[in-house]
Point group: C2
Chain length 146, copies 2
DNA sequence: TTTACTGTTGATAGTCATTTTCAAAGGATC
DNA sequence: GATCCTTTGAAAATGACTATCAACAGTAAA
């Protein structure tokens, strides 16, 4: 899985004529070793922990490359920070997000996907992507509240 | 329709002990006279066109009041600007957005809403809100492209 | 009305995430 | 190794939004 994504990036880098650098290899390793939905700042801190010299701008730049390479997706929740998650081109899922603790559950639902297409067709649109986020309290947070 | 929303704001203002000001009346008029999904900047420009003295900060502040009053909804697309649209408390709709020209179609679908609830229940979550955006090309833009 | 109180406004400074700039560093090819 | 040109990191710049604060303006009592 991780190796597959490394290969995807390598192929992308080759096709684009990108040079191989320590920084990009490192950032890719850190990114692939985490399965959360990390903000740039969070990723930068993880990177800096082992390699203090790496600059924040490089992390910003490199994450954008991962998206272009087709191994990551950029997502914006309502906290004003851009987050990145693993996602190979062609894969897809939506999010169920706890407003209490931030826990994210990923899901896919073919009924919803199908109805979305029907709606688009009805209006003459051709859908290229979509975004569905459900916000609410997770079981744990529901307990705390009362 | 417009009168109803003005009344909603008036009641909110009364309940909250807000003073009646020229600026808020004006911004409310401009907001209600447009049925688009306007950014704060766009609204500010419309306001400034007839009343150049009004400050940007006042527009920001007033739009937040409209949301609190229950007659507007704040929305964030991917362009990094907050937009506001008409929405009375209790109403709801989702968006179909053209990536070519920005045209927005509003829709509601009870099947999707129902399945969303099922998904939430399955994971033990209690949903408080959601956000669904479909991105693609509208009929007009599909024509242009080819 | 005036007065006195206090909410509101607009200009400006501040914040925060992200982007740009640019000189120095470092891959790649010969 | 020499050359070329991409990449990097620090710092400045940007852009949306928020906080600050003195001047202003509703409001309600006098
Ligand atoms: Mn995810
Ligand atoms: Mn809408
Ligand atoms: Zn939770
Ligand atoms: Zn279009």
């Amino acid at each position: 899985m991780i190796l597959e994504k490394k290969k995807v990036f390598l192929q992308f880098a080759t096709k684009r004529g990108l040079r191989s650098t320590r920084q990009r290899d490192l950032i890719l390793d850190v990114f692939l070793s985490s399965h959360e939905h990390l903000s740039v700042e969070e990723l930068y801190l993880k990177v800096k922990a082992s390699h203090p010299g790496v600059g924040q701008a490089t992390v910003y730049r490199t994450l954008k490359l991962f998206v272009e390479a087709g191994l990551a997706r950029e997502m914006t929740l309502s906290d004003g920070q851009t987050r990145y998650e693993h996602l190979l081109a062609g894969e897809h899922h939506d999010h169920l997000i706890c407003t209490g603790c931030g826990t994210i559950v990923e899901f896919e639902d073919e009924t919803i996907e199908r109805v979305q297409d029907e709606i688009a067709v009805r209006h003459g649109y051709t859908i290229s992507s979509h975004r569905l986020e459900l916000y609410g309290l997770c079981p744990a947070c529901k307990g705390h509240q009362r």
